[in-house]
Symmetry: C2
């Protein structure tokens, strides 16, 4: 049985972020990959939508400059032949801080011929913003 | 082929939120269901972790008082025998506002014997907070 593309992709992206080695990631990205990590692009320019291999490699380079992945737990995972989704808890250390921050992220990925053609990720971005600022943002009680 | 529990659960929860009819939902919740929607509980008391059928029914009642679901699109879905994950885009109308707000939500659900035993949901909560406030929160550019 062949290894699912998710595991190769996971190794490739973490290697790219933590070691700056993008060769495996580059092999795994479809030329026309459709990519989006939803979140506040004013604070983190590497969030938002990208299209195509070069744009995604550029984003990964920006992420690698901003954070290193300290550890991650995959809390849920679903696999089908050409798709995968995971609920993950990441602990990352920002380049400009010493204290790790932790963030929950859900991703949905599609693969074709072993290459990533689509990735969508949702994060608990309010928590991410507060941890990055190192302080709470006062919110009114709505409900 | 039996209908996947996700579709019954989806109908039951939307019926509970929009029509206040919780009978179908009640049937579908395991007595010991493990539930969490991650997000700022200071602003929305119905977010956070809950345990057990009564606690989840209470949360759904609170959600029903706070919003009605205008529409939703399921952008990705993955199903296995006893589990499901979806990436969804919700358009909801808050009870205290006339303008709909839209939010992306990813959920991971597990079922046993047709009943929900676990649900985890991640939202783009910063976007949710800004739309609810009706204004932008100024953020420093970090990366």
């Amino acid at each position: 049985m062949t290894e699912h593309s998710l595991w190769r992709f996971s190794r490739a992206i973490h290697r790219a972020i933590n070691e700056g080695q993008t060769d495996q990631l580059e092999e795994m990205l479809d030329d026309d990959v459709d990519w989006a990590i939803y979140g506040p692009i004013d604070m983190f320019a590497f969030l938002g939508a990208r299209r195509g291999k070069q744009a995604v490699l550029e984003v990964i380079k920006q992420i690698a400059q901003a954070v290193s992945v300290h550890k991650f737990d995959r809390e849920s995972v679903m696999l089908s032949e050409n798709a995968a989704s995971s609920l993950m808890r990441y602990s990352v250390t920002p380049a400009k801080a010493s204290k790790p921050i932790s963030v929950r992220l859900a991703h949905f990925a599609r693969f074709e011929a072993g290459r990533l053609v689509s990735l969508r990720a949702v994060m608990d971005t309010f928590d991410l913003v507060e941890q990055t600022l190192g302080r709470q943002i006062h919110l009114p009680k709505i409900a």
